[in-house]
């Protein structure tokens, strides 16, 4: 019943960005997130024999990454004295003596939901980008996520501008269709 095959050569191309985004919102540090992704790939490679093909490759890698994130927090918390909980009720000295009630989170606030929703949106977009052909997704991520200029992309990928716009157009059209299904109506 091995419906899913493991294919480590394509890991970086297919999943690096997805795992990276997953990690970066959880450790909020670009360098650490990068290291965690790298460790995940290595750990995956080592235990590739245990992969039974029941879950998809990506789910399997995410599961490993989850453990890595937990390990990371264990490591930084095991240093002496870090594990204790410290609470600063107020970090402004001039606010001393003021009522603490003023600083309590607003239970009716919807701002936190926005963050969660945006993170989910990010994963939905990422899934859609992963479905694009390699060339298109390269151009689209460079242009849209990294915000590189048209000239730079053309130089790096060795294409001409009108070529680039055609690819951007195709990528955007398929993304619109894909997000229409996986996210709310566009």
């Amino acid at each position: 019943m091995t419906s899913n095959k493991i294919n480590p050569e394509k890991w970086v191309g297919n999943y690096a960005d997805y795992l990276y985004n997953y990690a970066v919102v959880r450790v909020s540090d670009a360098e650490i997130a990068k290291d965690l992704v790298q460790e995940t790939f290595l750990a995956g490679l080592k235990s590739a024999i245990n992969y039974q093909g029941i879950a998809s490759e990506r789910t399997w890698l995410i599961a490993i990454l989850k453990r890595k994130v937990i390990d990371h927090y264990r490591k930084i918390n095991s240093k002496k004295g870090k594990a204790e909980v410290r609470m600063n009720y107020s970090n402004q000295t001039d606010a001393e003596g003021d009522w603490l009630e003023e600083q309590v989170a607003d239970p009716l606030s919807l701002l936190e939901n926005d963050n969660i929703e945006n993170e989910e949106l990010g994963f939905a977009i990422q899934e859609c980008i992963a479905q694009l052909p390699q060339k298109q997704s390269d151009v689209f991520t460079m242009k849209t996520i990294k915000g590189l200029s048209t000239e730079d992309i053309c130089n790096e990928l060795d294409i001409n501008p009108s070529n680039l716009w055609v690819m951007i157009h195709r990528a955007r059209t398929s993304l619109m269709g894909c997000l229409n299904e996986n996210w709310f109506e566009l």
Binding site: P8, W11, V12, G13, A16, D17, Y20, N21, V24, V25, A30, K34, V37, Q38, F41, L42, L45, N118, E119, L121, G122, I125, Q126, D138, T141, K143, T144, I145, K146, T150, E156, W165, I168, H169, R172, L175, M176, L179, W183, L186
Partner: protein, 75 residues
């Protein structure tokens, strides 16, 4: 007059703020008379808003290359 193909291209350029003033004016006129392009433009703008809202980041091609290399040398 601009045709639909050109309009789509300018519309895409506009998403990255790379359309010239003259192109923008032409596009506006085209959108007034062409229903299909107006819909496309609306969806396109929405996609840009969504892309801006999502906290997406990605690794550069170089960083991925380094990762790939170290994966190959590992086993």
């Amino acid at each position: 007059m601009m045709n639909c193909e050109e309009a789509a291209k300018v519309c895409n350029k506009l998403q990255y703020k790379e359309a010239s003033l003259w192109e923008k004016i032409q596009l506006k006129f085209h959108l007034l008379i062409c229903k299909a392009c107006a819909t496309f433009s609306k969806k396109n703008n929405r996609l840009t808003t969504l892309m801006d809202k999502a906290p997406l980041q990605c690794l550069s091609i170089q960083e991925k290359k380094i990762m790939e290399e170290s994966l190959k040398t590992e086993p």
